[in-house]
């Protein structure tokens, strides 16, 4: 191992500070997820609007945030926006705004594909039974769309949790920022960043397992006659030939 001597004492000393950093990381993650999951609903509805101005606005927003790097978005809000508006935002607020704007764009597309995956006959069946538009949304569309897209939503949230490491670049004292600082002070990058990676893994891995379990459960409970819909990739890229998910016999 290149003659490297591990110093695990530095890990023990660094752990309390890193746990504090983890607190900030989790705080930013939870706030971002909660706000994004709410804001994504009107964006998704706007994306499906029959009114072109609304649809184009929503689509423009989504494409801007999907097609530019998150780090650029973060820097733009932290460094460029003050130049434009004269208002300087603290790093924490900039981080939350940038991550929320980014996650909302992805979440809105996930919602939209979920809404559109509900067969129109099921909505029409609701109409024929006199359910109002709100009742159709509340009892037919949203439960199925969320169920259908839950694995994707959880995957997005796992990605967001990992992406919060980028906020360390604008001096927000998250887990990554603290790790970097301690590593620089002690010249113990291997131990510190290994510990940081372990902490990220310890949080993300169980959620990833839950996501896989939900996916398996959804396939196993689909029942006879279930026809898997096109994959997310196929829905996002109309015209692409992508095989539908396999259903267990």
């Amino acid at each position: 191992m290149n003659g490297y001597t591990f110093d695990w004492d530095v890990v023990a000393r660094a752990l309390p500070s890193m746990i504090q950093g983890l607190g900030i990381t989790l705080q930013i993650t939870v706030i971002t997820i909660v706000i994004s999951m709410i804001l994504a609903i009107p964006v998704a509805v706007g994306r499906m609007s029959k009114i072109e101005v609304i649809r184009w606005t929503a689509q423009g927003y989504i494409e801007i945030f999907r097609c530019t790097p998150l780090l650029v978005q973060l820097f733009w809000i932290f460094y460029a926006l003050p130049a434009l508006t004269g208002v300087t935002l603290p790093g924490y607020a900039s981080a939350v705004i940038a991550l929320t704007a980014n996650l909302t764009a992805f979440m809105a597309e996930t919602y939209r594909s979920g809404f559109q995956s509900v067969p129109v006959e099921q909505v029409e069946a609701g109409r024929m039974l006199q359910l109002s538009r709100f009742q159709q949304l509340r009892y037919i569309i949203v439960p199925q769309a969320m169920r259908q897209q839950l694995p994707v939503i959880l995957s997005l949230n796992i990605s967001l949790f990992k992406d919060t490491a980028l906020v360390s670049t604008i001096a927000v004292a998250d887990l990554m920022f603290i790790s970097n600082t301690i590593s620089a002070q002690n010249y113990r990058a291997l131990e510190i960043f290994t510990l940081a990676a372990f902490i990220y893994f310890a949080i993300a891995f169980p959620v990833s397992l839950i996501t896989s379990a939900i996916e398996r459960r959804m396939q196993n409970t689909a029942g006879p006659g279930f026809k898997p819909g096109p994959s997310l990739l196929a829905r996002m890229m109309p015209g692409t030939k992508v095989a539908a998910a396999k259903v267990p016999a």
Binding site: P119, E121, Q122, E124, A125, G126, R127, M128, L129, Q130, L131, S132, Q135, Y139, I140, P143, Q144, R147, T221, A222, G223, P224, G225, F226
Partner: protein, 282 residues
């Protein structure tokens, strides 16, 4: 006991017309029904992207009739059903339901709301909401739209499921049911709103023949025991010949033939219908 048993029978004038209305388009009311006119459409027109789907369609159904609608894909059958269900508004024409004009002058009238609950529809696929069990599928609409108590809704659901032979599946998840069972539950769900007319859009096309026969038998019993009118788009000629009161053949957006099953299948002089029936039978 028929729900509509007190209704007057068809007039003698209508009965006299029975033999004459064979293979002509149907400007006049159908004549073999068991009661009064329930649905009447006049001059229905509908186009999609400049393609005419319905061309001046005149169509009548009597209370308690089973009308089988046949024709090639894209001939206008499903569009007619959707127009009668209120899922698609015609471009022009008039629809009358139970004596009330519900669509005229290119828009719905105020009577639409009062009669729309008397029309049920069953679709070809995806008929049940898969995230609910059978009971919830049955009771959601009565509870949410009519404020029915859960216990009353359950009683009514049990009765409706009993009618279609599915009472033992009341707590099953809809995804656990076979295709035929789902369609029977979908019919029972439509019955929860006490419809006078049930529209069925190719509800047996994805089912094996014996299962399809079971589903169609349910419709026949609903007509015989409850006097519910059924408009059915199907390719099941055996059912059409045995159970239908009228057979309507669509061709290029028009009703080419509107007659009795006997006339349609045995004495029809319409070459398009003959060709269609031969193809389906084969």
């Amino acid at each position: 006991m028929s729900r509509h048993s007190t209704l007057a029978p068809a007039s003698s004038t209508n009965l006299q017309q029975k033999g004459t209305q064979v293979t002509t388009p149907a400007p006049a009311p159908a004549t073999t029904g068991t009661g009064q006119i329930l649905v009447s459409a006049r001059g229905l027109q509908k186009s999609f992207h400049d393609r005419a789907i319905l061309r001046n369609v005149d169509f009548d159904m009597r209370i308690g009739d089973i009308t089988v609608i046949i024709g090639k894909s894209g001939s206008g059958k499903s569009t007619l059903l959707r127009a009668l269900a209120g899922l698609t508004d015609p471009d022009d024409g008039e629809i009358t339901f139970d004596g009330k004009t519900v669509f005229a002058d290119k828009k719905r009238t105020k009577d639409w709301g009062t009669v729309s609950s008397e029309v049920g529809m069953v679709f070809q696929a995806y008929t049940l909401w898969p995230h609910m069990n059978v009971l919830d599928n049955m009771t959601l609409a009565p509870r949410k739209t009519r404020g029915m108590a859960a216990s009353e809704a359950r009683d009514r659901a049990e009765a409706a499921l009993d009618e279609v032979g599915m009472k033992h599946h009341i707590l099953s998840r809809s995804t656990q049911l076979s295709g035929g069972e789902r369609q029977r539950v979908a019919i029972a769900r439509a019955l929860m709103m006490k419809p006078k007319l049930i529209l069925c859009d190719e509800i047996t096309s994805a089912l094996d023949p014996p299962v399809a026969a079971e589903v169609l038998d349910v419709l026949r019993r609903l007509k015989e025991e409850d006097g519910i009118a059924v408009a059915l788009v199907t390719h099941d000629m055996a059912f059409a010949s045995k159970a239908a009161d009228r057979v309507v053949f669509f061709h290029n957006g028009e009703i080419a033939v509107n007659t009795t099953p006997e006339m349609a299948f045995e004495n029809c002089d319409n070459p398009d219908l003959q060709k269609f029936v031969d193809a389906v039978r084969f």
